[in-house]
Subunit: 131 residues, 2 copies
DNA sequence: GAATACATACTCGGATACTCGATGTCCGAGTTTAATAGG
DNA sequence: CCTATTAAACTCGGACATCGAGTATCCGAGTATGTATTC
């Protein structure tokens, strides 16, 4: 029951992109260097973020990644869902009568966390950090 | 980022023990049968619950498992911590200046979930189910 | 000077390898209860 | 009867086996930019 390292990479990379805030894309090499990750692996993670519509890639020389949306809209939950998927953390596949009451409570609990992550934006961290 | 099946087994087994509420212990075989799990595997899970002080085992004939504490005190969080461990779901091992702000937010989010699980008791489910 | 060719700097995505935890199984050992046998 | 022995019904815990997701690397392919070459 842990978040993957990929999620951590994704969050930090997104934060870097938000902080950079330039129109010009940032290369994977530069992003990978600051996190001590191989470029190939990081690019795989960023591909997921791109498919989720959070960032976009520019190929060729001077290429790299840049944000697509307004930076104010990007929440923690967006990133996490892009990397970890959107399926529930708890799945009871037993054969009960109707729905599993245990599962219902677990989903309630998960919802509490998701709600917080939905309200928390990456840009808020960027502001705190720059001070 | 998923809860393990073991946690599901542990929750259901605890619920069964709470519902049974007898002084006499219930054998692993009976518990395993209702969840379609092997007895040896379930006993491994229950050993964790026993080490956490939630249940206790009685060996020998007529042996089995039974609750130790008052059933009203057992929360979802107790079970989950016993099985999944108490370490945080998100660990940033990068070398930032001081503490990682991203990690701080992730821990806040996790705390929301843990708080809910701490307030939710197994016995509440047992009551709903018996109606 | 314009067009062409070439080199360079990037990302993309498939294939592959490695590692580790989750999930189970097997089995010998220890423990309690019940049954049985001997005095 | 009472006691000792044996059988049966359990849990305990270590040692494996298996499997899949997470993590990571390698490399060929595609694409955009910059530079040199040719006419």
């Amino acid at each position: 029951m842990k978040f993957s390292k990929a999620t951590n990479y994704a969050l930090h990379t997104t934060l870097a992109l938000v902080s950079a805030s330039s129109v010009k894309p940032i290369g994977v090499q530069q992003l990978a260097k600051s996190q001590d990750v191989s470029t190939t692996y990081l690019s795989k993670i960023l591909t997921k973020l791109a498919k989720a519509g959070i960032i976009e890639s520019a190929s060729g020389a001077q290429g790299g990644y840049r944000l697509t949306r307004n930076k104010d809209e990007i929440t923690f939950l967006d990133i996490i869902h892009a990397i970890e998927g959107t399926s529930s953390m708890f799945e009871c596949d037993f054969v009960h009568g109707d729905e599993c009451l245990i599962q219902a409570e677990m989903k309630n609990a998960e919802q509490k966390m998701l709600q917080y992550l939905k309200e928390t934006k990456i840009v808020d961290i960027a502001h705190k950090q720059s001070t």
